[in-house]
């Protein structure tokens, strides 16, 4: 492949690629995102390869390993074009049937199609599945059409068109104005207006300037940046190059978590290809603009996702935040002006350039424009990645797209914004999801984690979990965060252990406010959010814990297992399952649990077929303990 030296060469190449593309040819696209990979999609791929070879169909059928389709719950996912049949939970043994039925005869394999749990009907086409149908897939849309290792796939689907437009028809100022007009806000958590950030860096006097992609997605329960970086790395690169052109930077960094090996691999591959095609390097498409990108792997520290900490890490130092009296946009990497944006933010840029700011603002709400990818996880039927326009309600996301709560249970809360976000109770389900609305009710957009919790989740335990997580991830540089979080963890541990007193709750609230006000960086400042939001909306649960009850029966110190003598048949299953020999009883006689020995693992409850094992909570347990 020769380098493109002129924009028109690239356009010509695109046209030849598009002409070559045979839309009628059968194409098997297999999701190879991390979720499907974990479900052994590679075995499905090799089964297809074997079968196609055996039946001499290799030339008639294209095969594509694509990025994440988003519907991780039903993986591995296989889509057969041009019919657009979508098969879920495909196993290697299903492959011969798919080949004879679909590829040779064009008929769908009914048993592999998605079944609508409401109507029980099978849905053949990918686009008709409610999970997909109710989404607006803008940034994430190409993931399922592209082989992340193929730059040609991306170019065919109008990739790098925005770059050509930028370099040939727009001045840096025009690009900046367009992004400002689009009112794009940072997708990484803060929601800071991207255009303003760019402008600050652009207007800073020092040289050189840097641009950075933040793919240090440390939030537990969020993986949209990963899927984008793994599935469509070129869209991020294109956004970054356009941004660098607008800002006047000639060097960029992509900071990827080392825990995402596939993202690292695909990004490095994409950079290499873009360099080969002349879309990176010196004098890009004869515009006189130079730009290079380096990949920097993060070594596993949640706090490194904070902008100033991330920059320290790139400099080869410990990723600790520093006070930001001067913004990193003015003095960042090596004390030079540095513009850092999240993966999703950069990926939005080519769309704005291609379709204009006006088109972009037509989606979403006036203050939160465009779409947002959420990772919908936890106690929800359709776990996966969801892209929706801003302003959609939580109810629509959870029930229409997510398919509701499994096992007929009741929704208790939704946690958004990662560990620093808050828990939203059921009464706010009809609230439109955008940056400001979420902030107003004590949570935040964050990077887009959305964890659904059912009635069996203890909110105090959740608060304890997050504060514990953050106190472990605190870098320890500033005292409020280091000591404050440690003390908060202690109080929360006491509450869940039934050892706390009423005044502890007040102390916890006071402490939370102090940490919020005085911590150095965003990690500390937002760390009390889970505590404050749960106290605000679920105060009764805290109070119940103080009385020695755990309403959801989660906190071990406050629950007891007993056997209902009227239901016990003496089968002995629970006795066998108990690893600490706390259960006694003869065969066909009523069994008994010794609470002194019981470690409350719940194995007996899991094993009993007669629902004879009961979980109880209440004061008497606490009294016995004290």
């Amino acid at each position: 492949m020769t380098k493109f030296s002129q924009p028109k060469d690239l356009e010509q190449y695109r046209q030849t690629l598009q002409k070559q593309r045979d839309t009628k040819k059968t194409c098997i696209s297999i999701c190879s995102g991390t979720g499907c990979h974990a479900y052994a999609s590679e075995k499905v791929v090799s089964a297809f390869e074997d079968q196609l070879k055996k039946q001499n169909l290799t030339n008639m059928v294209d095969m594509k390993r694509t990025g994440c389709h988003g519907f991780c719950e039903k993986g591995p996912i296989v889509v057969i074009h041009p019919h657009n049949y979508c098969y879920v939970k495909v196993k290697p043994d299903d492959v011969p049937e798919i080949i004879t039925q679909t590829i040779q005869q064009g008929k769908p394999v009914n048993r592999l199609l998605y079944e609508d749990p409401e109507t029980g009907k099978k849905i053949a086409l990918e686009t008709d599945i409610p999970f997909y149908k109710n989404q607006t897939r803008l940034i994430f849309g190409n993931n399922r059409k592209i082989d992340p290792k193929s730059i040609d796939d991306y170019i065919t689907l109008d990739g790098y068109k925005a770059l050509v437009k930028t370099l040939t028809k727009m001045t840096p100022q025009q690009v900046l104005d367009e992004v400002k007009k689009a009112n794009l806000r940072g997708r990484g958590g803060g929601g800071f207006p991207t255009g303003r950030k760019w402008e600050t860096t652009k207007n800073a006097s020092a040289e050189p300037k840097y641009v950075i992609v933040n793919c240090d997605e440390g939030d537990p329960g969020a993986y949209m940046d990963r899927s984008l970086m793994e599935g469509n790395p070129h869209s991020v690169l294109e956004g970054l190059i356009i941004g660098a052109y607008a800002i006047g930077a000639h060097e960029g960094f992509i900071y990827v978590r080392q825990e995402y090996p596939l993202a690292v691999e695909n990004t490095e591959h994409a950079i290499k290809k873009a360099e080969e095609y002349g879309l990176l390097g010196k004098n890009i498409l004869s515009s006189g603009f130079d730009f290079t990108i380096k990949v920097h792997r993060g070594a596993g520290a949640f706090v490194s996702g904070e902008s100033s900490a991330l920059m320290s890490a790139i400099e080869g130092r410990v990723g600790e935040p520093r006070p930001k009296y001067i913004h990193t946009a003015v003095s960042g990497l090596w004390n030079k002006p540095t513009c850092l944006n999240n993966v999703e933010t950069w990926a939005n840029v080519p769309f704005i350039i291609n379709n204009s700011a006006q088109w972009f603002t037509s989606m979403g709400t006036p203050n939160s424009t465009g779409t947002k990818i959420f990772s919908l996880v936890g106690n929800v039927n359709n776990t996966g990645l969801v892209e929706v326009p801003m302003g959609i309600t939580l109810r629509e996301i959870i029930y229409k797209i997510g398919g509701g709560i499994p096992n007929g249970k009741h929704l208790k809360a939704v946690q958004t914004g990662g560990p620093s976000g808050g828990c939203i109770p059921e009464k706010y389900l009809d609230l439109p999801v955008d940056f400001d609305e979420l902030y107003n009710i004590g949570s935040m957009m964050g990077s887009g984690g959305m964890i659904v919790m059912d009635e069996d989740t203890c909110m105090v335990d959740i608060a304890r979990y997050f504060v514990n997580f953050l106190s472990q991830e605190s870098c320890g540089k500033c005292l409020p965060c280091r000591e404050g979080l440690r003390q908060m963890t202690r109080i929360l541990n006491d509450i869940t252990a039934g050892k706390a007193f009423e005044e502890d709750l007040e102390l916890l609230e006071d402490l939370s406010e102090v940490v919020q006000m005085s911590a150095l960086c965003a990690l500390g400042q937002s760390a009390p959010n889970p505590v404050l939001s749960t106290i605000k909306y679920f105060r009764d649960e805290y109070e119940a814990h103080l009385r020695g009850e755990c309403p959801s029966k989660v906190c071990k110190a406050l629950i007891n297992y007993t056997i209902d003598s009227t239901k016990c048949k003496g089968c002995g299953l629970c006795l066998k399952s108990c690893s600490v020999k706390a259960i006694s009883g003869e065969k066909k006689g009523i069994h008994h649990i010794d609470n002194e020995r019981c470690i409350k693992c719940g194995n007996c409850l899991e094993s009993c077929k007669f629902n004879a094992v009961l979980k109880t909570t209440g004061k008497q347990i606490l009294v016995a303990k004290r």
């Binding site: 991390t34 979720g35 990979h37 974990a38 479900y39 991780c72 719950e73 993986g75 997605e217 440390g218 939030d219 537990p220 329960g221 969020a222 993986y223 990963r226 080392q258 825990e259 995402y260 920097h296 792997r297 070594a299 596993g300 520290a301 949640f302 490194s304 890490a313 790139i314 400099e315 080869g316 130092r317 410990v318 990723g319 990772s375 996880v377 936890g378 106690n379 776990t383 996966g384 946690q415 560990p419 984690g449 964890i451 919790m453 059912d454 989740t457 959740i462 979990y465 997050f466 997580f469 870098c475 399952s577 690893s579 693992c601 719940g602 194995n603 899991e606 094993s607």
Partner: protein, 266 residues
């Protein structure tokens, strides 16, 4: 062939002291190593035995030679082992060198360099760190600061199989902690430790990024999803079966470098 000739030359000949001395000088001048000579001497003497030429003085000589040979063999083995370990060390340092060169010896790339070393060895050996410190002229304290700050680094060797249990929020609300407990109970270690037979290291992580599978356990590069605590022991024990090529005693004695890596075993 040359060996055969010399052998036949001496067969059936009874050596006097003088002759023996002559033989030694002869062999000294040849380019044979001392062990070779001793082994050959033993060979000759054993043939004497076979021919029924067993006589007391000869017996004593034989014993002496035998002892000497054993001594030399021991020394030789020791030297070879030492040589091997020195070679191994040099090799390891060379690999470190290569990694440093890959990043052009830049100080800024310290974290990337450490990540590569960690990837190769599954831990950060001290000699490697000292070497990095020397090459990049970064003080050791700073390197240890980084090595202890980031989660990916380990200053202790890991077991053969790395068991990672996800405790991310999505797995937490789907009872991830119970999976960790089950694994801790089965392996008899706590999170962050390695079993005494160095088979397993157990770790808890904050998110493996495949929340649809929760609760998830990842062993080396394989995912085990939608787990219940009762499944955990079976899965873990399947990693023990068919992989024990050495006895437990041997495994304890074998230096870490010689132990087969999991990939080799598979």
């Amino acid at each position: 062939m040359a060996k055969e000739k010399t052998k036949s030359h001496f067969v059936g000949v009874r050596l006097t002291e003088k002759q023996k001395k002559a033989l030694y000088t002869l062999q000294k001048n040849s380019d044979l190593s001392k062990t070779d000579i001793l082994l050959r001497g033993l060979e000759i003497l054993s043939e004497y035995y076979a021919l029924g030429l067993d006589q007391p003085p000869l017996n004593i000589e034989l014993k002496k030679l035998e002892e000497e040979a054993i001594q030399h063999l021991k020394a030789l083995k020791q030297i070879k082992r030492r040589e091997e370990s020195v070679k191994q060390m040099i090799q390891e340092l060379r690999e470190v060198d290569e990694i440093i060169d890959e990043y052009g010896g830049e100080k800024n790339a310290l974290i990337q360099i450490l990540l590569k070393i960690q990837e190769k060895n599954h831990w950060l050996p001290k000699p490697a760190l000292l070497w990095v410190s020397e090459r990049l002229s970064i003080p050791m304290s700073q390197i240890l600061h980084i090595a202890t700050f980031y989660k990916s680094f380990s200053l202790e060797p890991h077991g053969e199989h790395l068991v990672r249990i996800c405790l991310g929020t999505a797995c937490h609300v789907r009872s991830g902690p119970k999976i960790l407990e089950a694994a801790e109970q089965y392996l008899g270690i706590r999170s962050g430790e390695t079993t005494s037979d160095t088979k397993f290291s157990l770790e808890s992580v904050n998110c493996l990024g495949c929340c649809a599978l929760g609760p998830v356990m990842m062993i080396d590069n394989e995912y085990h999803g939608k787990l219940t605590p009762s499944q955990v022991p079976d899965i873990l024990s399947s990693y023990r079966i068919g992989e024990l090529t050495m006895t437990e005693e041997q495994q304890k004695l074998a230096p870490i470098a010689q132990r087969p890596t999991p990939q080799q075993q598979r």
